[in-house]
Subunit: 134 residues, 2 copies
Amino acid sequence: MPDPPIVRIDLGSGAPAYAQIVAQIRALLVSGALEPGTRLPTVRQLAVDLGVHHNTVALAYRTLAEEGWLELRRGRGAVVVAREGPRASARAQAEFSQHLEGLLAKAAADGLSSKAIAREFRALGRKLWKGKTS
Amino acid sequence: MPDPPIVRIDLGSGAPAYAQIVAQIRALLVSGALEPGTRLPTVRQLAVDLGVHHNTVALAYRTLAEEGWLELRRGRGAVVVAREGPRASARAQAEFSQHLEGLLAKAAADGLSSKAIAREFRALGRKLWKGKTS
C-alpha cells in the first residue's frame, strides 16, 4: 500500500515547486514529525508522486542536506539526521522580521482580521513546537 | 530638505525590488502610517531615491492601486485613498496559513527560538494594529 506523499504541490501558489517541497519538509523536520533515522522517499518516487521533474526533488533534497537536515545516499536515498541547530544570525533575524511584516500586512490587506491572524499563528506554533510557544 | 525615502530596497533579499516596495508600502497603509489623502512620491522621484528603474516603481504603484489602496494620477502622482477592505477569501486564508508555516519553520531552522519568534510576532502586531492584536 503506498503511503500518501509527504508533501503536496499547490499549482496555484506563486512559489516554485522546489521551494514548496523544501518548506513543507522543513516544517515536518522542525516539528519532529520526521525524526532522525527516517528514510525519505527516493527522489524518483517523490517526483512521480508529485508529478514534477526529478531534478526538482533532487534540488529540494540538496537544499535540505546543505541545511544539515538530510544525509543523501547513493541511489538517491535520503535519511533524516540529527541536526545541530545553528545560532540565529542577525541576518536571519532581520530577514524573518521583514518577511513576517510583509506577510502580516498582506493578510490584513486581504481581509484577515488581526484576531484570525493571531489564532493562525498560535495554531502553527502549537503544531511546530508542540505547545512550547505561548 | 528631502524626506528620507518611504521604503528601502534590500539588495541581499531574494525578493524582487518591486515586491519589496509593494510589501513595505502595504505595511505602512495597513498600519495607518500612510493615511487617505497622503500623496506618495512620484514614480520618478522614488525610482531615483531607490536607484531602481522607474518601471519597477510604476509596477509597484499599479499593484497597490489594483488592491484599492492608491489612486494614480496623470503625471505619475499617487494618492492614498480610503479603502473598503475585502472579506478574506478561503484562498487568502489558506495561502496565509501555508506561507506563515513555511516562514516559521525557516526561522526555527535558522536558529530562532520559539520565544524570539513569538516576541517578533507580537511586536509586529502592535506596529500594524496598534495593540488590537493580543
